[in-house]
């Protein structure tokens, strides 16, 4: 598949807009439909498309496995970290009110961070799942 010029060029053209759309969905989730999950999946789809068209090795060069694993945990840590921060500031777990100057500002900051954490974890898990499934072939073949 990596020989087909139409697919390669189409992928190169599409890659950036998909990421951009992912970012839009991520940060526009407060105002319209969207949020961390959807954005995470869209992000992941860009990298999966790249890996499908250019091959898994190229995909891994673009997005290495160890960074993938790190970000995968980081999303959850970010989410939990927001909760722990609010706990340290004297409120209950995940009460965002204390994070900002006013209650509403705190809620905004909290929701933004939390959604970002969700997006990070979801996108990286999806990429990791795809890598793991696509990679399975090779460990099967060497047997």
């Amino acid at each position: 598949m990596d020989k087909n010029p139409i697919l390669r060029i189409a992928t190169k053209i599409l890659f950036a807009p998909i990421i951009l759309f992912g970012l839009y969905v991520q940060f526009h989730g407060d105002f319209g439909p969207g949020g961390g999950f959807q954005a995470g999946v869209i992000f992941a789809s860009a990298f999966i498309l790249y890996a499908i068209v250019f091959g898994l090795e190229k995909g891994k060069e673009l997005f290495p496995l160890n960074i993938n694993l790190f970000l995968l945990a980081l999303g959850g840590i970010l989410y939990g970290g927001v909760g722990i921060a609010s706990m340290l500031l004297g409120e209950e777990f995940l009460s965002y009110n204390v994070l900002g100057t006013s209650n509403q500002a705190g809620q905004h900051i909290g929701i933004l961070l939390v959604e970002f954490g969700v997006g990070l974890t979801v996108s990286n898990v999806m990429i990791a799942l795809f890598y793991a499934f696509a990679d399975f072939k090779r460990s099967g073949e060497t047997k």
């Binding site: 989730g29 949020g35 999946v41 939990g80 995940l94 965002y96 929701i111 974890t121 499934f133």
Partner: protein, 191 residues
């Protein structure tokens, strides 16, 4: 309002058709594609039921990523399902009992779209008011998801994380390494 219900009834009938096709199909790729179509129709149905966020997620997760995973897995799996040899009477009875109970209780379920039923009166109005006043975010689903029930979402992030780690741990084990490990271990042969 009738038109909405007709659209719903139409979509749900398509889903029923896909479901029956799934029962009959023996080819794996056909099954996977039908599942994807099923999710897509479900997403349409969610839109017509006002659940835009859910529709978005179902379309991207259910019809998108799930299908990619199914297809990626299918590359290594047999293409055809073998004919069942054993009897399917017992599972069929279980399903019929389940469906029977649900249909039996469906008359006591709130009528679809009735604004006076407790589900719409009890907590939901507080979320709608709170989203405007306490949180200040137009998308109520986001404010409930991330703030009111933020802990559920945290749990869900953890579920996704768990699945990711689990799949990595399950698929990444090389047979060779296990064998090396076994020989390294103190092997006490009884024979």
């Amino acid at each position: 309002m009738i038109s909405e219900l007709i659209i719903n009834a139409f979509l749900v009938s398509i889903m029923l058709g896909i479901g029956i096709a799934l029962l009959k199909s023996r080819s794996v790729i056909y099954t996977v594609l039908l599942t994807s179509a099923y999710s897509l129709v479900a997403a349409l149905m969610f839109i017509s039921l006002d659940a835009v966020d859910v529709a978005f997620t179902e379309a991207s997760v259910g019809a998108g990523i799930s299908t990619i995973l199914f297809l990626a897995a299918m590359a290594f799996l047999p293409r055809e399902e073998e004919k069942n040899v054993t009897s399917q009477v017992f599972p069929a009875i279980v399903c019929l009992v389940l469906g029977g109970i649900l249909i039996w209780c469906s008359y006591d379920l709130p009528q679809i779209g009735l604004a006076s039923s407790p589900i719409h009166q009890h907590i939901a109005p507080e979320y709608i008011a709170g989203s405007r006043n306490d949180i200040g975010i137009p998308n109520i689903v986001t404010s409930v998801l991330a703030s009111y029930r933020g802990y559920d979402t945290f749990g869900e992030t953890i579920v996704v994380f768990t699945a990711g780690i689990a799949v990595l741990a399950i698929l990444k084990n090389n047979k060779k390494e296990v064998k090396k490990l076994k020989s390294k271990k103190k092997v006490l042969d009884n024979g």
